[in-house]
């Protein structure tokens, strides 16, 4: 610790050079953080996806009759079958998309991560127009409990109107994926009564099963049950669905890692070069230090300390920017940009990886300059050779 002023003086010898190097390390770590967040965001979507929840969709498009519910429920191993249909539209302007998932009381068990209660879901049926909104969604449009709003939708109502009025009854969140989920839940009973077309038809069934190991088997059983019906089904576990959805966007890991690799590679050269330049200019000074009794290891440590302080501080600044400033910037994005924000929330684990990389980089970038100083021949250096 007592050598800290010496190390800092070394860094501050050419302030402009140090500041530029510092800033390029900062921006590189900002990018590192963003890429690492995207990667972990996608990985988490697959990780939290459940194997004991199946999605039953129609095989060839279109909707299926709600009568499937009882047939699926009769299959041994199935615990809950929940019909789901969504009403899509927009709020005020087509730029503000909004959709309500219409469900019934058993949505509580179908999606336990929403922390709903039976009473809450029953109250939606009673009030008819009540909706439960996710925290992030409510925040996006600045809705409070009790807020009344109208969705404009291509789905007509029995009175011919295409404006569906709702009232925010409660606000919750997906606690497996906090601060990111965008959803609204409404009453299926009300919706089915109010709509004109496709009455009694649903888009999907959420099926919970007792034993996750049997997901593939039960999926096949469900599909076989409806194989020869007018509307055959395709059943997949939530996990398989999430994997396919992630993969359909392309190889994200390859993409993010290539960019991270390019950034770190660029940085290594930049920082290494700055340190080498600085050390070269200070050759006589290091010779003096050695003359007055600093050991080879001591001077090596001084150079490495410079490298570490530079990289750690810059890495910290960059990652803090990601953690605290990026969420604010995302809040400023227009509301139709989907849940891109969810992918840019940097988890602490990504921040820790970032700091580990900063330290590793400090070591590699500082290695050659430090070695040069360690091997410095005092007599030659003082003579300016």
């Amino acid at each position: 610790m007592k050598y800290l002023p010496l190390v800092l003086a070394g860094l501050w010898r050419k302030p402009a050079r140090t500041i530029f190097t510092f800033l390029s390390v900062v921006v590189a770590f900002i990018l590192f953080g963003i890429m690492a967040s995207i990667e972990s965001g996608f990985a988490k979507q697959v990780a939290v996806a459940r194997l004991d929840r199946l999605y039953v969709d129609t095989r060839f498009g279109g909707n299926m009759p709600i009568a499937y519910q009882n047939k699926i429920a009769a299959i041994p191993g199935v615990t809950i079958v929940e019909p789901v249909v969504s009403l899509n539209g927009y709020w005020k302007d087509p730029k503000n998309p909004a959709g309500v998932t219409m469900a019934d009381e058993h949505y509580v068990e179908a999606r336990p991560e929403y922390h709903l209660t039976h009473e809450q879901m029953r109250s939606l049926d009673r009030s008819r127009t009540g909706v439960i909104v996710s925290k992030t969604f409510a925040k996006r449009y600045n809705w409070k409990i009790g807020e009344r709003f109208a969705l404009t939708s291509p789905t007509p109502q029995t009175d011919g109107s295409k404006a569906w009025t709702f009232e925010v009854a409660a606000i919750t969140d997906n606690y497996d994926f906090p601060d990111a989920a965008l959803f609204m839940l409404g009453s299926y009973k009300y919706f089915d009564e109010a709509r004109v077309t496709e009455k009694g038809m649903v888009q999907r069934f959420l099926v919970r099963i007792a034993n996750p190991d049997r997901s593939a088997e039960i999926g096949r059983t469900i599909d076989n049950l409806f194989a020869n019906s007018p509307q055959p089904t395709r059943t997949l576990s939530e996990k398989a669905n999430a994997q396919a959805a992630t993969a359909s966007i392309g190889d994200i890991t390859f993409f993010t890692r290539s960019i991270i690799g390019a950034v770190l590679f660029m940085l290594l050269f930049l920082t290494g070069n700055t340190l080498m330049q600085s050390v070269r200019e200070r050759t006589p000074e290091f010779a003096v230090l050695k003359t007055i009794g600093f050991s080879d290891r001591g001077v090596l440590g001084l150079v490495l300390a410079e490298s570490v302080i530079l990289c750690i501080l810059a890495g910290l600044a960059g990652l803090c920017f990601d953690k605290f400033v990026v969420p604010v910037l995302i809040g400023l994005l227009p509301s139709n940009s989907g849940n891109a924000g969810a992918l840019l929330m940097m988890p602490w684990s990504a921040a820790a990886t970032g700091m580990a990389f900063a330290l590793l980089m400090a070591g590699i970038a500082g290695f050659f300059p430090a070695l040069r100083v360690k091997r410095l021949n005092v007599v030659d250096a003082l003579a300016g050779r």
């Binding site: 050079r17 921006v27 590189a28 279109g62 007018p230 055959p232 396919a244 960019i259 950034v263």
Partner: protein, 402 residues
């Protein structure tokens, strides 16, 4: 260094350009002394341009697929439907649309219209074994008159009434069990792949299975068509047809040109990719720019005496500024070309499944130029401040510096 190349007698006659050329040549000739530092600019720019172009190659791939709209083709959808999926066209309306003015007649004298319907098929990717969906589109008997670019390259056309399909050229390459003879799991049983088609690299070729519309709709028990594609006599007939369709009180449809429709489909994803490319490129560029500033500051500081000497024998400040900038831009150019080459070698021509459509990645010359230009902008900012410093330094003190 041979000083005889710049005799004092000539110095006053040397114009600005001559001076600049000389100082630049001198600067570049000593570049190898600053090899390590110069490498920082080269590598920095290579990384920035490489990353930028890699992401843009994806956007080129998407635009290759959706940029193939024909002006003499249009799509009829129900009123208010933004996409084919949301549209319904009653079977009874097909005749009215076919007979409307502006619709071209096919070689056999029948109107060039194709009433279409679709379903989807889950397929497994060869690359990672995961499933994705490809579209299955039922087309009318005049489909080839509507889409003259569509032709069979292998096998034969499907026969209406039979459970037969043809697949786009890239589908068997990307997905398992999709070649001629494969059985596909479609409504009412197994459908056989009987042919492979090409359609000029558009979205059909990239990710669609084609079959007969009436066969597919009866298998799906679908009561109506989704959309009707029409070939116009000429692009100018678009307005005629639109007027005729909207004026007809029995119809509730809208006409969109294929160009506009594809633009609507592709614009979003293209914007997202371009934004990502510029955010990533911009942040990396900022880092590279700081690196360039560092390098160029150290370059002018190591050339302090040299520059001061040139100034003392009469070279102007402008020439010095230009020479420093030229050095910075030269390094950036080398880096940008290396980066562009790597991105091109890694991605150009690469076939990838993107949301169920096969896209061919590519880097257009325009994107390449854009990458180089971006590197130039960064190198200019990175070079101008050191250049000004070099030109402004007091000659008397600088010349004595060690």
């Amino acid at each position: 260094m041979s000083w005889t190349r710049w005799p004092a007698a000539e110095e006053k006659k040397m114009g600005f350009l001559g001076q600049t050329g000389t100082v630049t040549r001198l600067g570049l000739s000593t570049l190898r002394n600053r090899f390590g530092a110069s490498l920082v600019v080269v590598i920095g720019m290579a990384c920035v341009v490489g990353a930028l172009l890699s992401i843009l190659s994806l956007s080129t791939g998407v635009m290759n697929v959706v940029g193939h709209g024909h002006k003499d083709r249009a799509i009829v959808m129900s009123q208010g439907a933004q996409f084919e999926g949301a549209s319904t066209i009653k079977r009874a309306d097909l005749g009215t649309i076919s007979d409307a003015p502006g619709v071209m007649k096919a070689a056999d004298g029948r109107p060039a219209v194709s009433a279409e319907i679709f379903s989807n098929l889950s397929v497994y990717k060869k690359s990672d074994g995961l499933f994705t969906f490809v579209a299955v589109r039922g087309v009318g008997t005049e489909a080839q008159a509507v889409r003259p670019e569509l032709h069979i390259v292998k096998g034969r056309m499907f026969q209406p009434g039979k459970f037969e399909v043809i697949v786009g050229k890239n589908i068997p390459t990307l997905y398992k069990d999709m070649d001629i003879g494969s059985k596909l799991d479609l409504p009412q049983g197994q459908w056989t792949v009987v042919g492979i088609f090409e359609s000029g690299g558009d979205i059909l070729e990239g990710g669609t299975v084609l079959t007969d519309a009436d066969t597919l709709s009866s298998a799906l028990r679908a009561p109506a068509y989704k959309s009707v594609w029409v070939r116009l006599k000429s692009p100018a007939d678009f307005a005629t047809l639109r007027k005729a369709l909207t004026a007809n009180p029995s119809l509730s449809v809208e006409l969109t040109s294929e160009t506009d429709y594809l633009k609507r489909e592709g614009a979003n994803i293209n914007t997202i990719l371009t934004v990502i490319a510029f955010v990533v490129g911009g942040i990396m560029g900022l880092g590279a720019m700081f690196g360039a500033l560092n390098t160029m500051y150290s370059a002018v500081s190591s050339r302090k005496v040299e520059i001061a000497t040139l100034r003392a024998i009469g070279f102007g400040g402008g020439a010095v500024i230009f020479s420093v900038l030229a050095e910075s831009l030269f390094l950036a150019l080398v880096g940008a070309l290396i980066g562009a080459f790597f991105a091109w070698a890694a991605f150009a021509g690469h076939l990838q499944s993107f949301g169920g459509v096969a896209i061919k990645l590519g880097i257009t010359p325009r994107q390449g130029m854009g990458g180089v230009f971006f590197a130039f902008v960064l190198a200019f900012i990175g070079g101008i401040f050191p250049a000004l410093k070099a030109a402004r330094q007091p000659i008397a003190t600088a010349i004595r510096a060690t």
